[in-house]
């Protein structure tokens, strides 16, 4: 176990360095959610006037959803790093070492979770300027963080699994675009469930992205209850299953090369 943690930490550190040393990548990743928050808050400002919309400030409603969406997008691209490692031969070099195999999955996931905290902090600061407030206290913050970490880990692991299956950058990009945006819109990130058509609401209920959005929002509002605990449990289970799938993908990659 100590060896697995050591290997995972070393690999996570390498991935963090890899991201930190690409200033343009960092800048774009930080500016993009900032723009989204400003644009969406301005564009959908009038939604707060709709009958049945509970919040008075759209930024207050949208901020938890945007934080989840930002984490979701970033983690879904995580497999690209793996593809780079495959192409460069870095993965083979690691596989020929006594590295604990799960560390090759857990390391990048840890990097994703850690690096996702920075845009989250920036969004919280900007959201505060737009009138959004956090009412959840420490428990609410922990619940929101748990939801974010679980959804990030789940999608980063699935991105790895897809990368090992398709083994081409273009295919992974197409797959991410195909999945991430519909999942985001099939959640309450932009609009509460009571204001969307029934069939969309049905999809929202079984969408893991929505579990994360709702758990995060509950953490913001301090309205923690059994439903939130259930969603956090489901998200954790999803993360575990995704890591198992990614592990299976790695074993398959090793078998087929």
């Amino acid at each position: 176990m100590t060896e697995l943690i050591g290997h995972s930490a070393a690999i996570a550190r390498r991935h963090l360095l890899q991201v930190a040393r690409q200033p343009w990548l960092v800048a774009i990743n930080l500016v993009q959610p900032f723009l989204w928050l400003l644009l969406f808050s301005a564009t959908f400002h009038s939604i707060t006037d709709l009958p049945g919309f509970a919040e008075e400030n759209y930024a207050q409603f949208f901020l938890p959803g945007l934080i989840v969406m930002t984490a979701l997008l970033a983690s879904s691209w995580n497999g690209l790093t793996l593809l780079g490692d495959m192409e460069r031969g870095t993965l083979d070099r690691l596989l020929a070492s006594p590295v604990r195999r799960p560390a090759l999955i857990v390391g990048p996931l840890a990097q994703q979770v850690v690096s996702g905290l920075i845009p989250t902090a920036i969004l919280l600061a900007i959201g505060y300027g737009l009138g959004a407030r956090f009412h959840g206290g420490l428990v609410g913050a922990l619940a929101a963080l748990w939801a974010l970490s679980a959804i990030s880990a789940a999608f980063a692991a699935l991105s790895h699994a897809v990368a090992m299956l398709v083994r081409r950058e273009e295919s992974l990009i197409a797959m991410v675009n195909f999945i991430v945006m519909p999942l985001s819109f099939l959640s309450t990130a932009f609009m509460p469930a009571n204001l969307v058509p029934d069939w969309v609401a049905t999809g929202v209920a079984v969408n893991p992205v929505n579990w994360a959005v709702e758990a995060c929002r509950a953490g913001f509002d301090g309205s923690l209850g059994g439903a939130v605990v259930l969603r956090l449990g489901l998200l954790t289970a999803l993360a575990v299953v995704s890591v198992v799938i990614a592990q299976h993908g790695l074993r398959r990659y090793c078998r087929t090369t």
Partner: protein, 329 residues
């Protein structure tokens, strides 16, 4: 260890594409030697290295590396080997030092020991001055040395190098050869190196195995292999490609001249005494109406060894197969 440090027996590997990369590959490597696996592209060299370094499993056969079975105890094998693949695998955004240290951590090296070994290996390979530079900004030769540094930082018993000098300038290649020879001589490291450069195997290897179509066709020291061929090699450039059979008819009756092959305008033959054979051969060719541009008399090379055992010239075999993708045939 008294037996071979690497022992491959009847290895077979067929890819899903149907390509049979290895077809009963067998060879042994003695400890503390540099073993050259020589063959054209697609001969099965990279597949052999992938199996011996536990990256791939054979369909049949058995391989022991440092006394451990590569399929039954791969983790034990991995602790004792280093791998330098065909590609330049350093992470470009990490510094040279960070790359080497990351690899060291995978072998359980920590803090002071890891730092010390990293410094040693960087100094050894002439990389100390660029230790803090991002690997992506280094030249191709330096990147290759970074790969080697990553391959030896944990002091393995065996280092696998898969075509390490492909694409490097001749002077950089020479420098790398010196580094590799030094690792064997000073550290007692065993190196298995694949190459498609005949001169590389000739210059570096204590033992050479020539691989063709997934099988070893002959093995021995470069000198032993060349000594299997008596006399000299005649290389004759003709003005134009002759009709089939004409050259054979012209030279067939000559004593001391054998193994005649024609490839376009190039004629190769073995001669017991090259100097004495030249005027006789030229006269016979002239009588047959075959004009000659130039004649070279040379000692046998590994190219001649390859020709003798495969029936094809080395260059022709390499060209026929073409480039490989991703190290696989």
């Amino acid at each position: 260890m008294t037996g071979p440090i690497i022992s491959a027996r009847d290895l077979v590997k067929t890819y899903r594409s149907g390509v049979r990369a290895l077809d009963g590959l067998s060879f042994d490597v003695r400890e503390g030697t540099l073993f050259g696996l020589l063959g054209p592209n697609g001969a099965g060299k990279s597949t052999a290295v992938r199996i011996l370094s536990t990256l791939s499993r054979p369909d049949a056969g058995e391989a022991l590396v440092a006394g451990y079975d590569v399929t039954r105890t791969p983790r034990e094998v991995r602790r004792r080997i280093g791998l330098v693949g065909q590609k330049l695998s350093a992470v470009p955004t990490a510094t040279v030092r960070e790359n080497v240290m990351l690899q060291g951590r995978m072998y359980g090296l920590r803090s002071r020991e890891l730092a010390g070994r990293t410094d040693d290996v960087l100094a050894r390979l002439g990389l100390a001055e660029v230790a803090a530079v991002q690997a992506g900004t280094c030249s191709g030769g330096m990147k290759r040395r970074i790969d080697i540094a990553m391959g030896i930082v944990h002091r393995p018993r065996i280092l696998f190098l898969d075509e390490p000098t492909t694409g490097l300038d001749p002077d950089i290649r020479q420098r790398l050869w010196a580094d590799l020879a030094d690792l064997v001589r000073r550290d007692g490291l065993t190196i298995l190196l694949t190459t498609h450069y005949l001169e590389e195997a000739d210059e570096l290897a204590n033992q050479v195995a020539i691989i063709d179509r997934g099988r070893i066709v002959t093995t021995g020291s470069p000198e032993q292999l060349k000594q299997q061929l008596r006399g000299d090699t005649l290389r004759i450039e003709l003005t134009r490609a002759p009709r089939d059979g004409v050259v054979g008819d012209a030279l067939s009756g000559l004593g001391g001249v054998s193994e005649i092959t024609v490839d376009g305008t190039r004629l190769h033959a073995r001669a017991d005494d090259g100097g004495a054979a030249v005027p006789v051969v030229l006269d016979s060719l002239a009588r047959a109406g075959i004009a000659v541009v130039s004649v070279t008399v040379a000692r046998p090379s590994l190219d001649d060894v390859y020709l003798r055992h495969t029936g094809r010239r080395y260059e022709t075999a390499s060209a026929a197969v073409g480039p490989t993708i991703g190290g696989l045939p």
